[in-house]
């Protein structure tokens, strides 16, 4: 295994600026959407007093979850001493920061009072998992920034491993915190489950790695850099394990719910009668997000090809969005069980009359805001790799594979 050299993203200027311009335009459109929503009020969105968190939260939570997962690649190199992953660490940490920034931007811009962000920074309620998350997020930025520094600066080598381990522990806490936003909600049947926290952690492994693979393959491809088959194979196998774990947690979550009669109505809603939510669960979460990617990854032919890996990663991300949608929106549209043993036959506030779910359809500005968040992630990442040496000059087997032997 040779020493890895790093260099800035070297694509020609017009192309680089062209990519930036496209992303900038998407962000500008999202900005207009945000201004429109904030200026008018949330009545221009599909969100209501029943479905209080909508599509922006789906995007925000997906990106935040993926952020901590994207750091995994670096953690495997540092915390678990897998040398083959170490050259991948810098981009992994950068992408983690970018994903978190994009997710938080979406989350913050959807607040009813985004101008009062300072209050969120100065008034804390320490019983709120949300308030802890503010620390977990800002801490993540600081720790991962230091981590990148220690990866890049050889004088700080002594700090590299401890910081990497610390960052790994922190990212586990962070995703546990994100999952607990829902897991700690006793009010709603779809939430109030401790398993949501570890499930979010495993989801983050899968989504973060899928996002990392796509970004890595794209920036290497357009820059003419080489990624060896060995490394890709290892990562896609890892993705397979993570996706299988997501499927396993999904199974346990629903089996646990199915066992208790109290949750049968909720399970019937998600698994059978929920219309779009049932479709998104089986079609998005299970099929697109788990089964098809698993099929591709472990298919002897397709799994070995770059196209197969790109397809699997893309599907994991699309399925992941569907997963978060089912959790966030599906959990809210299902009527709250306020009166066990009774059916609400009339209500002045949409309490789920005759068990009917709440209505929600995302509006265009919400979609634009979410997509804008994704554009922010890519913009930050591309600027980062252009400015500093994040990318290994090559990841060919000869360089990356410790067991490489010329044959």
């Amino acid at each position: 295994m040779k020493k890895t050299h790093f260099s800035e993203w070297g694509i020609e200027s017009p192309r680089y600026w062209g990519i930036l311009a496209v992303l900038g335009a998407i962000i500008a459109i999202a900005g207009v959407a945000v201004f429109y929503m904030e200026h008018s009020g949330h009545w221009v969105t599909g969100m209501t007093n029943q479905v209080v968190w909508g599509l922006p939260h789906v995007f925000a939570i997906f990106l935040i979850v993926a952020a901590s997962g994207a750091l995994n690649v670096a953690s495997i190199g540092t915390a678990f001493d897998k040398k083959v992953y170490q050259p991948l660490g810098r981009l992994s940490a950068l992408l983690a920061i970018a994903l978190l920034a994009g997710g938080l931007a979406v989350l913050v811009l959807d607040l009813g009072q985004p101008g009062r962000l300072l209050i969120a920074m100065t008034h804390y309620n320490f019983k709120s998992i949300f308030a802890w998350n503010i620390y977990l997020y800002t801490g993540f930025f600081a720790i991962v920034a230091a981590y990148i520094w220690f990866m890049m600066d050889h004088r700080m080598k002594a700090w590299y491993k401890p910081t990497g381990i610390f960052a790994f522990v922190w990212r586990l806490l962070l995703t546990t915190g994100t999952g607990s936003i829902f897991g700690f909600l006793v009010a709603r049947q779809g939430y109030d489950a401790a398993i949501l926290a570890p499930m979010f952690v495993i989801m983050s492994f899968a989504y973060g790695l899928a996002a990392y693979l796509l970004v890595l393959m794209f920036v290497f491809k357009v820059d003419g850099r080489e990624i060896g088959g060995v490394l890709l194979r290892r990562m896609k196998n890892l993705l397979g394990v993570f996706v299988a774990a997501v499927l396993y947690f999904t199974l346990v979550y629903h089996l646990a719910n199915l066992y208790g009669t109290e949750n049968h109505a909720y399970e019937a809603f998600i698994l059978r009668d929920g219309g779009i939510y049932t479709l998104l669960f089986w079609g998005g979460w299970v099929l697109v997000g788990c089964l098809i990617p698993l099929g591709i990854i472990y298919h002897p032919g397709m799994g070995a090809t770059r196209g197969g890996i790109i397809a699997a990663s893309t599907l994991v991300i699309l399925g992941g969005l569907a997963t978060v949608y089912v959790i966030v929106i599906g959990g809210q549209v299902f009527p709250m069980a306020m009166f066990p043993g009774k059916t609400i036959v009339a209500s002045g506030f949409f309490d789920g009359v005759n068990g009917q779910p709440m209505l929600y359809s995302p509006s265009l500005p919400e979609i634009l805001l979410g997509v804008g968040g994704v554009a922010v992630v890519l913009l930050l990442t591309f600027i980062g790799i252009r400015m500093l040496r994040f990318l290994p000059t090559t990841l060919s087997d000869e360089v990356a594979d410790p067991h490489y032997s010329k044959s």
Partner: protein, 253 residues
Amino acid sequence: MSKVKHQGRREFLKTSAAAAAVTVAPGVMLHTLSAEAAPRTEAVTDKVRWGMLIDANKCADGCNDCVSACDKENGLDLVDMPEGADQGLWERQRPRWIRQVKLKDNLSGKITNLPMMCQHCEMPPCVDVCPTGASFRRADGIVMVDRHTCIGCRYCMMACPYKARSFIHAEVAEKLTHAPRGKGCVESCNLCVHRLDNGDTTTACQDACKHQAIVFGDLSDPESAVSQALKNYPSVQIRADLKLNTGVRYSNI
């Protein structure tokens, strides 16, 4: 000095509660009392805990009096639909503090009517989850939102087991002096806190209920009408399994 004052207040509450218990038309009776009441000068304490008992048997099918009284009292009727909004969507976005709910028992088919609002929990989930502490429980048991520090994240709405809260989805042109309201904050029933702070002892919904289904008062005072009623009749908390110790109780559900 403060002790004397406190006692005076306590006495006042007792007499007014007793008056409420005997009067036939509580609204009329109690408004005469409020004429002599003055705004509060000392901080509320936990010696009082406001709460109510709602008798679902007395709550009449099709009656909406408490809802319209609440809307009027708290300026909710001044919240206009924004121009260009979709009527159906807006109905789900407009704020409501109290609502009528009609239930049918799955086994017997028995119909029950009751008003639902913030249950003023002793352990409110909305207060637990609020990141800034804007959602808070006042010493006298009223759960409310300090909209000066509310950032509009709606996590409290996710956490409330009673769906009691509303987010203000649009600019509000006209508001009442005692009921400020603005786009982007969350709010909910505050037991007509402006009335209580000005020495009044009833809520608008209670006054409006001609069936006297609502008894409101101090749960900490064993002599109050509401405490007596709770002592003498069986009652339940909605979602008692959550052990939130609600300030609003129901009988005959």
